[in-house]
């Protein structure tokens, strides 16, 4: 019985330790990577998109594409009308 509990505590200590260790290493490596990249390729910047990460709606890319095409079409049309 106490063996099981001991093992559980061991798993907790090792597990949390490892999770923190790994993510802290990742913080440093990621930060270093970003600094390196932004030093050597300073111009290549894109805006962080504002939408949430995991899209649950269906194929938003099609929507986006559609909206873009629509916008272009309507824009062109408006220009045509102005002339």
């Amino acid at each position: 019985m106490s063996g099981l509990l001991e093992e559980g505590i061991g798993l907790m200590v090792l597990g949390m330790g490892f999770v923190f260790l790994f993510l802290i290493i990742l913080i440093f490596v990621t930060g270093y990577m970003s600094r390196l990249l932004n030093h050597f390729f300073p111009e290549v910047q894109v805006a962080t998109p504002v939408e949430p990460t995991a899209r649950s709606v269906n194929q938003p890319s099609i929507d986006a594409q559609m909206v873009a095409v629509i916008t272009a079409a309507v824009h062109q049309h408006r220009n045509n009308n102005t002339n």
Partner: protein, 390 residues
């Protein structure tokens, strides 16, 4: 012919149905109801619920194993869920393919803009390991029949990440897979109910009103190299997490690299949808009455709730600590998003933040810890698989 009629009657559900099966069909229908009416993670809980109904129809043979004669010819074919479960879940293929698709849907931009939020994704995994202790105590005290492997598989519910939970459970505690998957997805759906009270209890209105500095822009190049870096780090530090994180990063690399859009689109749509349907039916096959209707299931449901709550609290407390030590202010609410449950937990953080301050949009700030939580729980899963097997 009378005997045939009798046979036919003996084949009916009325004649064969056992109470346990009846109860489990009701449980399946309840999951379907929650999925449709309450919007509880319907993409998974609807197929799981139907899978539970089908597997408990007596005599329908959805989990029947195929029978072969000595020469290897099929005498009677197996059931649909038998093939799905043994082909896709027992092997681990389905959760890994889904994780690849989730990777292809994930934007690491907000996390790369503020890598310190990875700490929040680490802290929130405390829910996992605290729950392991809880399960181990229940097992050690003899109340429930949990081994260390069972305890680890139950703890992973606190990771708030469906495919990770299913992957770990299929390897460490296949008998508990049904209950663990149902608990994981149910609590992920309940995040908007579970988290806010804990968030309000552990923070002051002033803390909840903290505005964070706007995130810097992240270059395409950083987003491309990040999944490669994670893969290499996993290879070096924790190979047992490589199946999960390797596939996750592969999906993310397909998304970000910009040269394989057709593969990325398929991974995010047709492929993940197909696998989700089958994963749900396969998980549902573990909701048979003998596997599900016992005290352990109640323990798992209770422990899962504890796991979510402790994870939320640990994330918030870590965020409060970081706020004290950081130059830039950190709103403690985003710590709660560290449990993952992407993107629900980030939306909850945003919503609770807006209640305190109507101009305070935390969504993008919360997406950092949110996706960090996915990495964190995959790392925790790797440690567990290595520790329990080792």
């Amino acid at each position: 012919m009378e005997s045939k009629l009798l046979n036919l009657f003996h084949d009916t559900g009325f004649y064969q149905l056992e109470l346990g099966q009846f109860v489990m069909i009701c449980v399946g229908l309840l999951l379907v109801f929650l999925a449709i009416k309450k919007g509880f993670e319907p993409l998974l809980l609807l197929p799981i619920g139907i899978g539970a109904v089908l597997v408990n129809i007596p005599g329908a043979g959805f989990m029947a194993a195929p029978v072969y004669d000595a020469a290897g010819h099929m005498v009677s074919p197996g059931g649909l869920q038998y093939y799905i479960y043994h082909g896709g879940i027992e092997t681990g293929l389905f959760p890994l393919i889904i994780f690849m698709g989730v990777g292809a849907m994930t934007d690491f931009g907000p996390m790369l803009a503020n890598p310190k939020t990875l700490l929040l994704g680490a802290a929130a995994q405390f829910g996992i390991f605290a729950t392991v202790i809880g399960a181990v105590l229940l097992g050690a005290s003899g109340i429930m029949d949990f081994t260390l492997a069972d305890a680890a598989a139950i703890g992973i519910i606190g990771g708030a990440d469906g495919p990770t939970a299913i992957f770990v459970a299929s390897r460490l505690a296949p008998d508990l897979l049904g209950a663990i998957a149902v608990a994981a997805y149910s609590y992920m759906a309940l995040v908007p109910l579970i988290q806010p009270p804990i968030m309000r209890a552990l923070t002051t209105p002033a803390e909840r009103s903290i505005k964070m500095v706007q995130l810097r822009e992240v270059s395409k190049r950083e987003k491309i190299i990040f999944p490669v870096v994670v893969t290499v780090l996993v290879a070096m530090f924790l190979p047992s997490a490589a199946p999960l994180l390797g596939m996750f990063c592969f999906g993310n690399l397909m998304r970000e690299c910009g040269v394989v859009n057709r593969l990325s689109d398929t991974a995010q749509n047709a492929l993940i949808n197909v696998v989700t349907i089958f994963l749900g039916l396969g998980v549902g096959s573990k909701l048979s009455s003998e596997d599900f209707l016992n005290l352990e299931t109640l323990g798992i449901l209770a422990l899962g709730l504890v796991a979510f709550s402790i994870g939320t609290a640990a994330g918030i407390l870590m965020a409060k600590l970081m706020n004290k030590m950081s130059v830039h202010p950190i709103n403690p609410l985003i710590g709660a998003a560290g449990v993952s449950a992407v993107p629900m937990a980030a939306r909850v953080a945003n919503k609770v933040g807006l209640e305190a301050n109507k101009q305070n949009f935390l969504l993008m700030h919360a997406m950092g810890p949110n996706v960090a939580g996915v990495i964190g729980s995959a790392v925790a899963a790797g440690v567990m698989l290595s520790y329990v097997a080792g």
